[in-house]
């Protein structure tokens, strides 16, 4: 059930141009991204491929972005997939697959070129298949200390390069929500499923929907406020599992802490409100009754899960808590007020926002907006063609239908056709009062009931 794409790292809307003296790459062939990946994986010379989404063409490339003279360039028609082995600065297992460009040893000695036999004569000569290029650190003899090289120092024949294992190379703070490292296996050694695929496990964490969560390729991430980074696995029998990643020694300083009000989603709220909107006392975070839960304070060191105070440890929309009522598991603490400075945000709109021409392009839930001229994931009823006067540019929030609730956009979440944007009305912007209007009342065929049943019921 693993995808051949698992060996590749994707860069969307990017083209990789070779050095001018390189011969042109082979002609493009038809195929889906997975098929291109399979072809590239089978070809020892292939290091990357372009995938042209619209025409479903793929072009195999014998170079990567680290090849001399190669450069990345924006191209909206292409996705660039490069073999992970050529990009990673860390190693997997003993690093025999490492194809990076490190060329100094752990003590800082420069590596000897593999094709050179001085100052040290040796038997590991380059061939098209063994990856011994330039003077880069490699592990042709499966040394358990990882990639190494012969050194240019006549007194030191060879030395380990000290390249760290991926699970140790980048550490995580708190619960690893910010972890952007390269571990792609779970703690049991199962390979992760790519976030942009829906098999073998169907899931809601599509990378386009949560661009700020770093759901790249099949790397371990923590998009849902779990205890640690995790991933869906390529094993159909194991939906998801935690990954083993080193914890940083330094704890980051908390940002955006508030006590009397909350900003954004209230993840920095550290106040002492401890009842729900309807006055039900919250359950203590360190208690497991009446509700069992995994938000144990010791496992969430940066979330300040003290007493029974309302908190937002999982990126929900607002601070919340488990309630002391057995029949009501969680409740939001919407009665905590929003901070005033947030209401005066720089981006605001007047009236209903029909004239809003700003560049906000995310919904209030942080989902990226779909471009107005795009037709996926949603086929729009309103577009630059149908509403040429509405300035429907890029994926900026607009209000082409004079929606009384403000600027909105189609979203990149396939399950949310449209949503309102994170823009507030400007202070002092007057909207007519609803209490002054009185309309004639007309109704369709609804809202009628059999009054005999009412009497009978009573």
């Amino acid at each position: 059930h693993r995808s051949p794409l698992n060996d590749f790292q994707r860069l969307r809307g990017t083209e990789l141009r070779a050095a001018p003296n390189e011969p042109p790459p082979p002609a493009a062939e038809r195929g889906a991204a997975q098929q291109c990946a399979q072809r590239c994986a089978n070809s020892p010379a292939c290091r990357a491929f372009h995938h042209e989404r619209q025409s479903q063409l793929c072009q195999l490339l014998p170079w990567s972005q680290h090849s001399p003279g190669a450069r990345l360039q924006k191209n909206i028609h292409y996705d660039l997939y490069q073999k992970k082995d050529f990009l990673r600065e860390c190693i997997v297992a003993n690093g025999t697959s490492y194809r990076g460009t490190r060329d100094t040893t752990e003590r800082g000695l420069r590596c000897q070129h593999w094709r050179a036999t001085t100052p040290h004569d040796h038997r590991f000569l380059p061939s098209p298949r063994n990856g011994l290029e330039e003077n880069y650190c490699r592990n042709p003899d499966r040394d358990k200390r990882g990639p190494w090289c012969y050194t240019v120092d006549p007194n030191v024949r060879h030395q380990s390069c000290g390249i760290k294992k991926c699970e140790d190379a980048i550490c995580m703070t708190c619960n690893g929500e910010d972890y952007r490292g390269f571990v792609d296996h779970t703690e049991s050694g199962t390979e992760c499923q790519r976030w942009d695929l829906q098999h073998p496990h169907k899931h809601p964490y599509h990378p386009d929907k949560y661009p700020e969560k770093g759901l790249d390729d099949n790397y371990c991430r923590n998009p849902d406020g779990s205890e640690r980074p995790w991933c869906y696995t390529t094993d159909p029998a194991l939906e998801r599992e935690f990954c083993r990643i080193r914890v940083c020694k330094k704890r980051p300083r908390p940002v955006n802490v508030t006590t009397g009000c909350y900003r954004g989603k209230g993840e920095g709220y550290r106040g002492r409100v401890n009842v729900t909107v309807s006055g039900i006392p919250c359950q203590r975070w360190d208690a497991q009754t009446p509700h069992r839960h995994h938000f144990v304070p010791s496992k969430y060191p940066c979330k300040d899960l003290q007493e029974n105070y309302c908190r937002n440890p999982d990126g929900s929309e607002a601070p919340w808590c488990f309630t002391t009522r057995p029949g009501m598991r969680v409740a939001f603490c919407f009665h905590i007020r929003r901070c005033d400075d947030e209401l005066d945000a720089q981006e605001c709109y007047h009236g209903h926002g029909e004239q809003y021409r700003g560049h906000v392009s995310k919904t209030r839930k942080g989902i990226t907006c779909q471009k107005w001229d795009a037709t996926t994931p949603h086929v729009p009823q309103i577009s630059p063609t149908t509403h040429p006067e509405a300035h429907l540019e890029e994926n900026y929030c607009r209000n082409p239908d004079n929606d009384s609730h403000g600027p909105w956009c189609y979203t990149m979440d396939p399950r949310t056709p449209f949503d309102y944007c994170a823009i507030k009305p400007c202070s002092g912007s007057a909207v007519p009062s609803v209490l002054e209007s009185a309309d004639a009342v007309t109704f369709e065929e609804c809202g009628r009931r059999d009054e005999r049943l009412q009497r009978k019921g009573r």
């Binding site: 929606d403 609730h405 209007s437 009342v441 109704f443 609804c446 049943l453």
Partner: protein, 227 residues
């Protein structure tokens, strides 16, 4: 409902969790759409697989063999404009309308229901010992003028809220009723003027009942159903 009587409200639905337990109310506004309140759900992205609505029954825990019961899974939740605290729930299939299941009218956009109009709340929530807790209870409540309610609440009332007058004997919504309807009879039609929203206490005698004013969000409801 505190201080209510057993009654019939064919648009009031019971929202059930995976264990089949009732936790909130809602109103059937279209065959495949139910309106309720945001506070009933943990998230706008909540995984509602296994959640259902029950329609067509007066009983809180009807037998699965109840011939009138329609149990329909919820397939989607859509959150309303932020200050609305409303959600629309899409059902897996359209409800079958009959004498026990009916749609409730939506008010005209920005319609203000006149003070003194008699309305009803309905729900399977707590009765605090005032009525039979195993059946749907209904209570009548008169609409209170916005200005009067504003005075009683010392200026804390928003235009997006609607009040009913406090009654001498405590009558009002309670836990488990949230998300249900405040239905008012206008021009021979029952109209969904308000949605029951959680408040600090249940049915306090000297406090008005607070509801979300649905007429301000009718455009959003139509847009969601259209899109």
């Amino acid at each position: 409902v505190v201080g209510g009587l057993p009654g019939n409200s064919p648009w009031t639905v019971s929202i059930r969790n995976r264990a089949g337990l009732h936790f909130c109310g809602g109103s059937l506004v279209k065959e495949q759409w139910v309106i309720s309140t945001r506070q009933c759900f943990s998230s706008c992205d909540a995984d509602l697989s296994g959640y259902e609505v029950h329609l067509g029954t007066l009983f809180k825990d009807p037998s699965p063999a109840d011939p009138d019961l329609q149990a329909i899974p919820i397939i989607r939740i859509v959150c309303g404009p932020s200050e609305s605290h409303l959600v629309l729930l899409k059902l897996a299939r359209p409800a079958v309308l009959n004498k026990r299941v009916a749609l409730i009218c939506l008010p005209p956009e920005r319609y203000v229901v006149p003070a003194g109009t008699t309305c009803e709340i309905a729900g399977w929530g707590e009765t605090r010992g005032t009525a039979d807790g195993h059946v749907l209870n209904v209570a009548k409540l008169p609409v209170l003028a916005h200005g009067e309610c504003q005075a009683m609440l010392r200026g804390r009332l928003k235009e997006s809220e609607l009040c009913t007058a406090p009654l001498r004997a405590g009558v009002g919504a309670c836990e488990g009723d949230y998300g249900g309807p405040l239905a008012c009879l206008t021009a021979d039609c029952w109209v969904l003027e308000g949605v029951i929203t959680p408040s600090r206490v249940c049915a306090r005698t000297d406090q008005p009942g607070l509801f979300i004013r649905v007429s301000l969000y009718v455009d959003w409801i139509h847009k969601v159903m259209r899109m």
